[in-house]
């Protein structure tokens, strides 16, 4: 088995062993379910068989949950020194980063898989747009991947999990909301730049069922950037 998958499997296992996975699943499904079905402008108020309200809730819940998943990935290993044990096994720094990234992404995908009953329920209530649903889920996965890679980078910078969590959240906040706010308060080229950087713009168009290559490139480049920087910061142990 590939080293990336071995590490991913071990990390996923430890999410479930340490209860993090269960807490995350319960909270995610609780929040999303409550606001999707029971409270506020829920699915029944929209008057359409659309998962739009779920996507906009999950957009926020996942934003808060991903740093909680990623904060321990590297910070804990650095604190306990197990990183030395891990990196002297027959694996490269890159495989470690990819394995850890994959484990958090798999956990998010498991959480999203538990919301498939929403789709089934809704399809009994009316005609749903399959393309829109698939795009929306795709958008959530891509968004999570972006935040996981940012969180992984934050985790690679420190050996304190709380610092890693807050750091990931504050970097994420820029993409999540601040760039959008800045875009609306500027005009001209700065406005365009900020609007391109804003994750919410790209997510919104995806959750409406529009797949644009620019959105895909945007998400994938954040993921690559985050993973690249994480690997770089792991390798940096050598540069004293």
């Amino acid at each position: 088995m590939n080293a990336v998958l071995i590490i991913a499997k071990k990390e996923l296992q430890s999410y479930f062993d340490s209860l993090i996975a269960y807490i995350m699943l319960v909270l995610f499904l609780g929040f999303s379910g409550f606001f999707t079905w029971l409270y506020g402008s829920d699915i029944f108020m929209v008057g359409q068989a659309s998962l739009q309200s779920f996507f906009s809730i999950a957009y926020w819940t996942l934003f808060f949950f991903t740093p909680a998943l990623t904060m321990r990935l590297l910070a804990e290993e650095k604190k306990t020194g197990t990183i030395e044990m891990l990196l002297t096994k027959a694996v490269s720094d890159r495989q470690v980063v990819l394995g850890k990234f994959l484990s958090a992404l798999m956990l998010v995908m498991i959480a999203l898989a538990f919301t498939v009953p929403y789709v089934i329920t809704l399809s009994k209530l009316g005609n749903i747009d399959a393309g829109e649903v698939i795009c929306g889920y795709g958008g959530l996965v891509l968004m999570s991947a972006a935040y996981i890679s940012i969180g992984l980078y934050a985790s690679s910078l420190t050996n304190n999990q709380i610092v890693a969590f807050l750091l990931a959240l504050s970097i994420g906040l820029f993409f999540h909301i601040i760039f959008d706010v800045l875009a609306s308060s500027f005009t001209g080229i700065p406005a365009q730049v900020f609007s391109t950087l804003s994750l919410s713009n790209h997510f919104e168009s995806m959750s409406r069922g529009v797949v644009d290559s620019r959105d895909l490139i945007y998400f994938i480049s954040i993921v690559f950037m985050g993973l690249f920087l994480s690997e770089l910061s792991l390798t940096k142990r050598n540069l004293n």
Binding site: M1, I6, S14, T80, K89, A90, V91, R237
Partner: protein, 309 residues
């Protein structure tokens, strides 16, 4: 697979942790790495195992440079890091399986290797516990087990016997000796008798530099300029014996250690032995020579001499 270290250096900021050291370890050899804290032992080991990049110089394992083939060479190395870091929330068996899989042990052999390691390291009673629940000695065994799980050709052990009780220490030393017959073993330790018990060769390093290299015996030979003997001579008063001993040619100093038991400590002139003279003297005077104990220079003294100044 041998280890060749060529002119290896590593600098942390302005401090040179390892300063142009060179040595070679062959298969079937156990090398003991000695030195005071901060001498550069762990840094050297980290460079051999590929955790830290090489500053200057090179490390070659089986002729291949770690600089170029680092990731490929890792699977030939078993490494027990300093302080033995482990995943405390993992059960012993799961952890060993994880390590075996990472080291590229074929999935059909993993079970067999894990069972073998559990047996060799005496982990049978604890194998289903989480590592965090184990005592320090058992954790150390898990650390050794993970280092040896893929049957590596090179073993690098940073203080392998810390935290073990005397029985375990004897077992682990025996194990290392056994492994050292075929494999290339480098171990570091603070415990000097351990080096004598397990290592074929000793390397003392101080402030990043090698200050001594050789077997325990050859180090002793270098260090002992003068022969020291403990004596017990009966049937005469200590003062008389002292006087007679002082007259002997080959004796440099005589010291009365224990008056009631007539015990003396004698230091011979450098390069000479005074044992025969002492015996002849006793025969001539009709004294009984009831003890004659040659004192070897202790490794501790050699170590202290080399590393303090």
């Amino acid at each position: 697979m041998n280890i060749q270290i060529e002119n290896l250096s590593k600098q942390y900021g302005y401090q040179k942790a390892v300063d142009h050291i060179s040595f070679e370890v062959k298969p079937g050899e156990v090398l003991g790495f000695l030195g005071p804290n901060g001498a550069g032992k762990s840094t050297t080991m980290k460079m051999i195992t590929g955790y830290l990049s090489i500053g200057e110089g090179d490390v070659r394992l089986g002729g291949k440079s770690v600089r170029e083939y680092g990731d490929d060479l890792k699977k030939h190395i078993g490494y027990l890091p300093e302080n033995n870091p482990l995943y405390l929330d993992m059960p012993v068996i799961d952890y060993l399986e994880f390590c075996a899989a990472l080291q590229g042990v074929h999935s059909s052999d993993i079970g067999k290797r894990v069972r073998e390691m559990v047996r060799v390291c005496g982990l049978n009673a604890e194998k289903h516990k989480k590592i965090g629940e184990l005592s320090k000695g058992y954790r150390q065994r898990v650390g050794l087990a993970q280092a040896m799980i893929h049957d590596p050709e090179i073993l690098v052990l940073d203080e392998p016997t810390t935290g073990l009780d005397p029985n375990q220490i004897v077992e682990i030393r025996k194990l290392i000796r056994e492994l050292g017959k075929e494999k290339t073993v480098v171990l570091s330790t603070h415990i000097l008798p351990e080096v004598e018990a397990t290592c074929d060769r000793i390397l003392i390093i101080n402030k990043g530099k090698i200050v001594a290299d050789g077997s325990a015996e050859s180090l002793r030979k270098q260090a002992t300029g003068q022969e020291i003997i403990k004596l017990r001579i009966e049937d005469a008063s200590p003062d008389v014996i002292m006087q007679e001993l002082r007259r002997l040619q080959n004796i440099d100093t005589v010291e009365l250690v224990d008056k009631t038991m007539n015990r003396f400590e004698v230091q011979s002139a450098s390069g000479k032995s005074s044992r025969r003279e002492i015996f002849q003297l006793c025969v001539q005077k009709g004294w009984v020579l009831s003890e004659l104990i040659p004192i070897e220079t202790r490794l501790e003294d050699i170590f202290r001499n080399l590393t303090t100044n």
